[in-house]
Symmetry: C2
Subunit: 296 residues, 2 copies
């Protein structure tokens, strides 16, 4: 990956670079500071239309998940947990002007939906990272929460991801930039994984473990399901794939973790992590690796 | 791509195969007919909970697009155009039980949202194709309608796609099945493209053309934008890429067309096509290939 900086904005870049290393969220785009206005189109926000430092400057935690309804429910849950003074009715969707994503702010916590799949979360992350950068946020922890398919573990378990891997069990995200493929790392912060794991010990009834999470581009053919409109592999071949995944340390499958890890790592979101909750076994005919009696 | 059929459902497969060749929507999954129940999880529909032939048996046209609000607006527009007897208030979201997608039925027309990106539309298409199959629909035309970024054409133009291509300008969709990569064709029906183009002649004020559509996995780095959180290429390199795309016959860029073309082609959706409307030039600093005075 090569960078080419336009000569015109060198000084501004230099100023902004002081944020790097102090826990500030940063961007890796030499053009951004020279732009007159930055419209975060899919969030219905912008640097000219909104006072982003005032609106978001105190954000310390960002929790993201696929479903808009669940992220609203999470926001209401956080409101209760944090015992904030404002009323529950004050929790409004900040992105109500668009139906692409929804966003709620509860004190220092942002709760945002991202839809399904790598491209959908990628658009949201580009605009979220720019939002946090424009708002001059620092020491931000970002956590993805979502359902996923479990491999060889009890349904209902919580998997705390230490490493996101692709369909070939590799800890990498292949980003196509124009017509070049650039490989990015998907390692996650081990310290936060441990911290979250320790928290889980205080909560009974949720089996929790740390493991690798596999991220696929497809829900049916990509995850060994036998019930899509297309299925060209045998039950045995699908099961063999899942067993190989298990042996590679993978404990669950979802569709966003590699790009999430890669982008947050590049942009200084201090402790970036992924938590996968409400794990379930989803195979029409169970692979036999998990205990189906606990299926949720 | 290899198929492995379980011995147990050979007769059922044979029966169902009679649909193929008579314009019936079909699946390519030997396991499906032997399943006791098919839950279309992301549509909140199922073969045991809903009478799919009664609900959807008369469907002849399916129009899909990213945004739920726009697909509702399209449903209301179709209701007006078709002059149906039922009231506008009767047009309800059939998938209201889930927030993943929305779906409206207006006489023989289905209007469905699919979110953003290949993985998101792919989940919807698997379940939509199974829905049309279970409902025994035949001679179904499917059209994708959506905004896209124009290359070298007037903003506001309509591009009727004759061929979907990937980031490398190739008419292919690379589907990862377990840990194998299978390449599928993305050619679209030329006859319907001509038919739609002829229709466009009756509508003034919408410049319309037939061209190739490029499908990317990423909105910012993948489409040459200079305003993402990450940007590692120069303005000149981005412009050169767009010029090469133009020279390869590409007239617009979006994020779903290759998997749409590949899946519909495989499953007998009689005339599958993609129409891209409300084209606009989106570059912070215009590439100069289009007429920005008409930007919408």
């Amino acid at each position: 990956m090569t960078s080419s900086f336009p000569a015109s904005n060198t000084s501004m870049r230099s100023e902004r670079n002081t944020y790097v290393g102090k826990g500030f969220v940063h961007v890796k785009n030499p053009y951004l500071d020279s732009m007159d206005e930055d419209v975060l189109y899919h969030l219905d926000l912008g640097t000219k239309t909104h006072n982003l430092p005032e609106m978001f400057g105190d954000v310390k935690f960002v929790c993201v998940g696929g479903s808009p309804n669940r992220m609203k429910a999470f926001a209401l849950f956080m409101h209760k947990e944090l015992r904030l003074e404002d009323s529950e009715e004050d929790i409004k969707d900040i992105c109500a002007g668009t139906d692409r994503y929804c966003m709620y702010k509860i004190g220092p916590v942002l709760s945002i939906s991202h839809g399904m799949g790598i491209p959908s979360i990628s658009i949201m992350l580009h605009e979220l990272i720019k939002l946090l950068y424009h708002a001059r946020c620092c020491d931000v922890t970002i956590i993805r929460i979502g359902t996923s398919g479990g491999i060889g573990i009890a349904p209902g378990s919580v998997v705390i991801t230490d490493r996101a891997v692709d369909s070939f069990f590799k800890p990498r995200f292949e980003q196509v930039i124009l017509d070049n493929v650039v490989t990015r790392s998907t390692e996650l912060d081990k310290e936060l994984a441990e911290e979250l794991f320790n928290c889980s010990k205080e909560i009974p009834d949720f089996p929790t473990l740390i493991g690798h999470t596999m991220c696929t581009y497809d829900f049916y053919e990509g995850q060994g399901r036998l019930d899509g409109a297309l299925c060209s592999f045998s039950r045995e071949k699908g099961l063999d794939y899942l067993k190989r995944a298990y042996n590679a340390g993978i404990r669950n499958i979802e569709m966003e973790s590699t790009v999430f890890a890669a982008m947050c790592r590049l942009c200084g979101l201090k402790d970036f992590k992924r938590v996968s909750t409400r794990l379930y076994c989803y195979f029409p005919s169970c692979c036999g690796l998990c205990d189906t009696s606990q299926q949720t």
